[in-house]
């Protein structure tokens, strides 16, 4: 295999693994703000125990998110040196802003969130929780802005030629508010909140099924269900705005997403299907002219197809992008149906009687995760063969001084380390969930107290 494909595999692998965690931090952060806010408002100890329990899970998730996140910032330099030189003026500023505005805020207040219970008052602690949540929201801002610039570059000009060409900022705010950044940011944020909400739903559905910790599990479940319902519906709006943006700004990607080849024909919308890139045909269950209708409000209007692009200027993995896109849509729709149905049962007072529903909800944590990954695969593979759309090809973006065997070395290393990490993560998460949201302050204080009474024993 050549360096390019190895470097792409490595990037996809490290970013996909990383992306399990930050959305959970954002979503869980949001729910922690609600839980702790309720504790402050009502003074009910139950909400405190609930908050403390979820903070412990948050710590575990956040820890792995940070550990796997740092590599991402440097992987541009290690594997994509030409890209880094090309976009440094633009991409680098966004990353620098991310570090100083988002990560520093998040990591700074995390200490107080995790260890500050006995050091600061409840209001300061609540403030720290809000700051950690805001920090995680901001961190999504800058990286999504930077990525959106790769999709729809704006506010720049090209300086130099050939090997020395590079993009320079001409208008910072045009770069930040490039045509796709705000739509995509909204889409990413909502996806993240769904990831967190469904984790909380899932764990509490498990408790409800096992009839354990019901006093805490039931209210926590309801909080998360409300969040999940609101944001599943909101995602419909954000997602369609994102798709509109793709239709307008990245026609090749749109055509790939629906497997549409012929520019002179109206474009169909598929519910599911299969694309054969060799014969250039797409088969499946479809709404004829559906895509044309979505873009032009007319079932007959032709839509630019893949044939309008040179074969070197359009994605080769058409079927993969098609499948990823449709998987994401299917998940988005299921989340809406699932949450609306659960709310309806709740209104009828039968929510917790339906065992099958609780089983489905206990597994539902996987859905937004798969949806988020599928969405990103659509976005990134749909942009190929460009790393910066229309400007820089992925094949030109590599580090020329890095040989294939070096990438194989690091890829093996990451595979081993991340597999171990994932196994340990699941093991510890499972253990924490089994341990449950119990108030263990009392017990531990006694243990520590007895050690502290005898200073000679401690050192």
């Amino acid at each position: 295999m050549d360096t390019e494909i190895l470097a792409r595999i490595q990037f996809a692998f490290t970013i996909s693994f990383h992306y399990i965690y930050p959305p959970l931090s954002i979503g869980l952060g949001f729910i922690l703000v609600i839980m702790e806010g309720l504790y402050l408002k009502t003074g009910n100890k139950l909400y405190e125990t609930m908050t403390r329990f979820w903070i412990k899970i948050f710590a575990l998730i956040f820890g792995i998110g940070v550990a796997t996140g740092i590599i991402m910032e440097f992987e541009f330099g290690t594997n994509w040196a030409t890209y880094s030189k090309y976009v440094g003026d633009i991409f680098g500023s966004a990353l620098a802003a991310e570090g100083i505005f988002a990560f520093a805020l998040e990591s700074g207040f995390l200490g107080i969130l995790l260890f500050g219970w006995n050091r600061v008052g409840p209001k300061v602690h609540f403030f720290s929780t809000i700051m950690v949540f805001l920090g995680s929201l901001f961190s999504a801002v800058w990286i999504v802005v930077a990525n959106s610039w790769q999709q729809t570059p704006a506010g720049f000009h090209i300086v130099g030629e050939g090997l020395n060409a590079r993009a320079e900022i001409t208008d910072f705010w045009a770069m930040v508010f490039n045509p796709s950044s705000m739509d995509r940011l909204l889409h990413v944020w909502i996806g993240a909140i769904l990831a967190g909400a469904f984790l909380v739903i899932s764990v509490n559905a498990y408790y409800i099924l096992k009839k354990k910790y019901l006093a805490i599990a039931v209210p926590a479940f309801k909080i998360a269900l409300v969040v999940a319902t609101v944001f599943s519906l909101a995602q419909l709006f954000a997602g369609s705005r994102s798709a509109d943006g793709v239709a307008k700004n990245q026609p090749a990607k749109l055509a790939t997403m629906e497997g549409h080849y012929d520019s002179s024909a109206a474009a169909d919308m598929y519910l599911m299907g299969w694309v054969n890139n060799k014969t250039q045909t797409t088969t499946g269950i479809k709404i004829p002219g559906g895509l044309s209708f979505l873009i032009y409000n007319n079932f007959k209007t032709p839509v630019k197809g893949l044939n309008a692009f040179k074969t070197t200027d359009r994605p080769t993995q058409v079927n993969t992008v098609f499948q990823m896109y449709h998987l994401m849509i299917a998940i988005g729709v299921s989340l809406i149906l699932l949450t609306l149905y659960a709310c309806w049962q709740w209104k009828k007072g039968k929510l917790f009687d339906k065992r099958w529903l609780m089983i489905v909800l206990a597994w539902s944590v996987l859905l937004p995760q798969i949806g988020n990954q599928a969405g990103w695969f659509t976005a990134e593979m749909g942009r190929q063969p460009w790393v910066v759309y229309g400007l820089l090809r992925t094949s030109d973006a590599l580090s020329k001084s890095v040989a294939a065997n070096q990438v194989i070395f690091s890829l093996i290393l990451f595979t081993l380390v991340y597999t171990t990490l994932f196994v340990l993560f699941i093991y510890l998460l499972n253990k924490k969930i089994k341990h449950g949201p119990v108030d263990d302050t009392v017990k531990e204080l006694i243990e520590e107290g007895s050690k502290r009474d005898n200073p000679l024993l401690t050192h």
Binding site: L60, G63, I70, L114, P455, L457
Partner: protein
Amino acid sequence: METFLGLEFNVWWFLVFGAVITGYAVLDGFDLGAGALHLFLKKETSRRIALNAIGPVWDGNEVWLVIGGGALFAGFPVAYAAIFSAFYVPFMIFMIGLIWRAVAIEFRSKEPGTTWRLVWDFIYSFACIVIALSLGLMLGNVALGLPLNEQHEFAGNWLSFFNPFSVMVAVTTLALFMLHGAIYLAMKTENRLYTKLSLLAKSFTVFFIVSFGITTLYTLLYIPHLSDKIRSNPEYFFLPLLMFLAIANIPRQLNKGKWRYAFISSSVTIATLLAMVALEVFPNLLLATNNVHNSITIANGASSVKTMKTLLLIAAIGTPLVGVYTFFVFWTFKGKVKLDETSY
């Protein structure tokens, strides 16, 4: 090029980048040092106290590395591209080290079993040692310079990174971090653990002085380009002088029990060392050892003036904010470590 307060924008950004890296070395330096000496602490409670001494702050400290990476990427993308693709192998090892350090701190306390904890203690300490050594190795090679082609890309073999000078810098870095970490831990502990750590700090002072002395001697004898500025400009002698005084001050303050002054001294040592490297390297970011014209300098490696201005504005807004909440967090957790139910 346009200037601000008499200095060109890229010079300003060189200073900002240097300050961020110094901030990282001072802040994460004590975390890494504490980790590197972790196995010198034998009892479970001592190890827990040591972990909780850095517990609330290490994550925030590591962010300085992220800011530094962003600062280099944004301000000097050519150097960012060249350095990280050149140091591919050591950098990946450094990254894996950071991953294990983070998860070891997080995972260790999640199980009560002694074997579980012992395994994580080893992983944790080993990761910190690897991080410190690889950081030092890369610093040594950046100071020496690398062979670069006309596109400023690395044109050498990565095995050459293990040259005597860089290995010595790596060992010196480890020694300095261990010293710094021992002082930080002493600051956060009491009674017998405090005594043990101040004794350790004294041994590490000797370890540092010996390794630094050898490295300096080697530099003066064989690497003229890393000492010529200080030699030809006696006014710069205040830097090595300040460093020498700071080092000499450490055992004195520890004997008096003034760990806070000792910590300031070791921080000053780190800062002056990096300042000396920056001074000698300037205005290069990465010297091309094969052909001096291929070097990456703060002029040919820089982003546009517009980006520099934006970055300085971001830094001007962001730095005070980071300063305020970093101070707030350290202040919240000031004083000796007390274990409670939220501890590791």
